[in-house]
Symmetry: D2
Subunit: 297 residues, 4 copies
């Protein structure tokens, strides 16, 4: 293929950009049917990523970004037509969103600031495609650091003896008000009831090591074992603690000269980067869950 | 989206797998037109990656992997029909290949063995999708290491005083016989005439540093400058020495304890990994050149 | 070597911890002489790193961390004795510092906040061993973000037409008051006179790419060239712009799906990590300059 | 510290280079005593790395590389004197080796070639400081690939039903003949008796994931779980399967587009790099075991 000049990038107004995320049993003609529907509706495909779990007979997933003049007004009709003409015949689950309507997000934290502040700071820079509705913490410590970002800081005391009342108060704040809850080093266990009733996905971050060190003082154990890598994993929250579908992972090299404090500091660096990537991808509608895994399109 | 069981991967026979790589000016309806053509032809899209250089008015590129029973027999007709019905109306360049027909590759080397042997070894393991037609070297040193792989080793002496004759002999060996030439630490400059007449793409590997160290003894200079990273770049060869479109890059961390020999050894490790990735991607028809860049789909 | 129980780490009070950084022509007996001096003075070596540029006849560098009860009171005598008994006979340059006396640091910035806020935030967490005396900016924009950290924000307008006056005002603020100046995306050139008169080292951060893209809009150029890595380099400032001794470098992988904005965002992530490592190492007296390189011990 | 010219590196003859690796309870005066001993013996310290597990009261480890004219002849006396004058008074374990006497190594493998060939190939290039005495395999498959390296290939059938006889034959070959056994994807369990009687350390390589996938088909499980990193761990072998002290670890990024075969291929790349680093460090006497960890000096 020959060469040509490279035009400088231009950006269309977000208000006319739509995202279509879908999943169904794989079968011939899917891409053609979806593309034809969008084309007939006057939408131009800007980017399209698809994935099939196997070459035949598996699950098909697709993320399509399209431009359509007047999307906001036409959105409901588009969704209805897609459901009737494509999704139903193909037995498809789908989600249609507008880039101009950022997700409403609550961040829950305890005393550690690194993940929380990094999310707030990135969002202020415009790096994350979200609107932070509130920060909920079971400790008052971080209020002064959160409020300058113009975000409500809500102190809801919580520990294992008052879990039920605490979760009720949290649910009153969250239910219907947010599209995503981010656990940014929130150090309380959440009950299955909470996960069901909150009505939106939750993303959590935790450290990860090879081998795994469970229980108390993982960084001390990791140092005693002489690990050469310290990492973090961001995942969707399910009732199985720290076992939900992995969204993103990364590691940093360490050696015997690093103290336990050094490991904790380096681990915190990885945690905030990994969590921010996971939140960004979720807010951009890039992630399809499939069984206990995620596909990031 | 809910969860379900994850089927184990199955692989279709390579003989019915086709790859369609294409590029054209972006405009509405492209994905729909291509998908409809393949669907009508009885081909099922297994994977599809596309990229547009800008949201509107840029260049559109797409790589489609499809399954089509009896592809080998139907290939010529399919190509002709695609050209007439899609490529011509949309002003499209395209390439249609069969996964069952691996590219014929020549490897050119000098005295250093690391990139050459790594390619031969990976190919024997079935990791690279290629058929190595010959190894050409301007030194006889590596013959005993190459021949056990069942690959012809051809010694064509070459240095700057006999470049023209050497290149003529090399062209006699290569022209029409190979689809790709890999320069695996081939330490002679190739003329513009050679690049034109060989009639296929060439991939080269070279070390890379930040900042760049040109001329003799780059590893010694890099150590004297105290660089913290040593890397390698694989690129298509153009007449501008080491300036062709970048296919892949990677680096490894180094520090003051590494001697010049250590840097060379670590650099060699990066070179062989980076070169093998570039060759694999080329052989899988993943790479679209666009101006002086590559898009790896 | 057999195994035994691993005691949990304990930390001595910083007030009795000293650091000795030295450099001289290599010759037999250096480590022995230095160790004997410290041992005789009642100091216990906690850690010792040394490096020789060549196996014989090169330059010898050593960083020693030691514990000595009552160091603060004894420091001046210790320094005098070391100079007379060791440094002078061996023709040695050295620096003796106390861990309990953090370096006084000024941060200079312009409009971009990522490096500046990351340093302030890490310092508040206790990750950096420094005392931030002031932030100087040629723009007022970041005042509200800096002052909550309890650090003076000083607005000194500067651009190329008023460089001389601006630098005079900056020198009035800095001279004698700080041990280090960190340029955290300070977008003005500093004159040779400034570098001489400020009387302390300066550390700068800049993006880095392979190949290098000089001048305006480097991220746009990097995207047009299809680079696969985006990085950053922290270095000491010399009169040669961006050419001073490299302290630290790192990179992050990118691909064709990243927009220019994505590259800038990912580059900013690397910049803040790389700069913070360089500042930490400097504040811990880990860095020996040697010619145009640094050795990080 | 000011700047000066940087001399080019020169290398002393290996025959006069010694390595002293030691470990003892930490106490004041250790570095001074060791340095004074070497200095008095006419040895010049080329490099010295030490580590203490805690600032006081922990374990002290040191690796010293020194140059001493006529080392080979003087070695036994030097060892005896060091034992009497330093090791005994300080309760020290130590090992004194000569760089000119590479370790004798046996490699055990099964059917997979990637780790085995990489070690042989690196050793032929002079990258590893070892002499390969033999390759032992429980399958005949790799004979033709091993013998061109000039290394004996010994086929000792082994599976769980004939473990005792197989291990007896292996021990007959190994005992007294080698200083290190490398398990380069040797797929049989070795008994505690074998580990005791072989009389030298063993290094093993295995894949590693986050989270860990135990049992059969780990790469398939890893893909089903959607891991974003695939890695490898090299460790000393103890009776606890895959639980011995970690020497080195590394990872590579993967995503949903990678098939199980891709993961296996990328994992193999990491395995061979990680194993070769571990073997190199062991052969250079860099590794001190301490409890269930290693310190790599």
């Amino acid at each position: 293929m020959s060469t040509e000049n490279f035009p400088s990038a231009t950006t269309l107004p977000a208000k006319d950009i739509g995202r279509l995320l879908l999943r169904c049993a794989d079968r011939p003609g899917l891409v053609a049917a979806i593309s034809a529907f969008l084309s007939d509706a006057g939408a131009n495909i800007i980017s399209l990523d698809q994935h099939s779990t196997t070459q035949t007979g598996g699950t098909f997933m697709q993320r399509t970004i399209f431009h359509m003049a007047g999307l906001s007004a036409a959105r409901d009709a588009l969704e209805r037509d897609f459901a009737a003409q494509v999704a139903e015949p193909f037995g498809m689950e789908f989600r249609l969103t507008e880039a101009a309507k950022p997700k409403r997000v609550a961040i829950m934290a305890s005393r550690e600031d690194h993940c929380l502040l990094d999310l707030l700071w990135r969002n202020r820079r415009g790096e994350l495609d979200m609107s932070v509705a509130m920060v909920i913490s079971n400790h008052p410590d971080l209020a002064d650091q959160v409020r300058p970002f113009g975000v409500p800081f809500l102190h809801v005391p919580a520990h294992k003896d008052i879990r039920a009342e605490a979760e009720s108060r949290q649910l009153d704040l969250l239910r219907g008000n947010v599209d995503l809850v981010v656990l940014a080093r929130y150090m309380q266990i959440l009950s299955g009831r909470f996960l069901t009733e909150v009505g939106c996905p939750l993303i959590n971050i935790h450290h990860s090591f090879l081998p795994a060190f469970v229980g108390e003082a993982p960084y001390r154990k990791a140092r005693e074992r002489g690990v050469k890598l310290v990492g973090a994993t961001a995942h969707y929250v399910t009732e199985e603690l720290d076992e939900g579908p992995i969204i993103e992972q990364d590691v940093v090299r360490v050696d015997h000269r690093h103290t336990v404090d050094d490991l904790r500091r380096l681990g915190a660096d990885v945690e905030r980067v990994v969590l921010s990537r996971a939140v960004l991808w979720h807010c951009e509608d890039r992630i399809v869950q499939h069984g206990n895994q995620t596909i990031v399109l």
